[in-house]
């Protein structure tokens, strides 16, 4: 009898979770659409920039590379391997099929 009651409780619980999940899916879709509109809106596009100073302030004294690339551009990072000189090699490969990639070196100095 106890197990039967437990089964009923679980079924009710799962039904609630299903409703909750559907609502989350709807909210996510709505928000993704809203962000898409913001990105496509001409006045939004005009003001959607950051300054070099904004970026430098966000990353302390690091050397920074800002990469502007078309949608679909592939960024590949191989797992670092030991080089012949005993030092690890860290690589980033950028590959676009649509338009040129722009890279800017931003350095406070």
């Amino acid at each position: 009898q106890e197990v039967l009651e437990q089964v009923e409780v679980l079924k009710a619980n799962i039904a609630e979770l299903e409703t909750q999940e559907k609502e989350l899916d709807m909210q996510k879709a709505c928000l993704q659409q809203s962000i898409k509109h913001l990105n496509e809106d001409p006045s939004g596009c005009r003001y959607s920039y950051v300054t070099h100073e904004d970026i430098c302030d966000a990353f302390g004294g690091d050397t920074l590379l800002a990469v502007m690339a078309p949608s679909g551009t592939q960024l590949e990072v191989p797992v670092p391997e030991m080089g012949q000189n005993g030092q690890k090699k860290y690589q980033v490969n950028l590959r676009s099929h649509v338009a040129p990639i722009q890279v800017m070196l931003i350095n406070r100095e």
């Binding site: 089964v7 003001y47 920039y49």
Partner: protein, 145 residues
């Protein structure tokens, strides 16, 4: 008892999926708030200065940032048509997208870490649809994971 075990597994699977979707939704909310805050900031600054900033001092979204120590040596190879780049670093680096940069600039009002003043919370709530405002309040109270 078998059915009970299967239902329990199903329940846990759904709970995990809901947790992931809530995190994704919170991330989208932060993205929208940060973006709208950025647009507002830039619009106000341009109105104050009566001109836009010089084009060579700004970077338009979307972008990503690769950051590394200022002592790192970077070797860069570029194809003639600029469709391909290869960077070799002799040290560690990190990669962040524009949303992360906006968060670091404080444009998400610290909601990602549960640090947000009442005044900032009021503004942040106005940047999202009414149905999602309770999520913003939860984040401000530190409920975000």
């Amino acid at each position: 008892a078998q059915e009970c075990r299967e239902l329990e597994t199903e329940r846990l699977r759904r709970l995990e999926r809901i947790k992931q979707k809530q995190a994704q939704l919170q991330e989208l909310i932060l993205q929208q708030i940060a973006f709208k805050n950025l647009v507002q900031r830039n619009r106000q600054l341009e109105e104050k200065n009566n001109r836009p900033p010089p084009p060579n001092t700004i970077i338009h979204l979307p972008f990503i940032i690769v950051n590394t120590s200022k002592n790192t040596i970077i070797d860069c190879s570029i194809s003639n048509d600029k469709f391909e780049y290869l960077f070799n670093f002799d040290n560690l680096f990190e990669i962040h997208d524009d949303v992360e940069v906006l968060k670091r600039m404080g444009l998400a009002f610290g909601l990602e870490s549960g640090r947000c003043t009442q005044e900032q919370l009021k503004i942040a709530r106005s940047f999202v649809p009414k149905a999602l405002q309770p999520y913003v309040t939860e984040m401000a109270q530190g409920a975000i994971n």
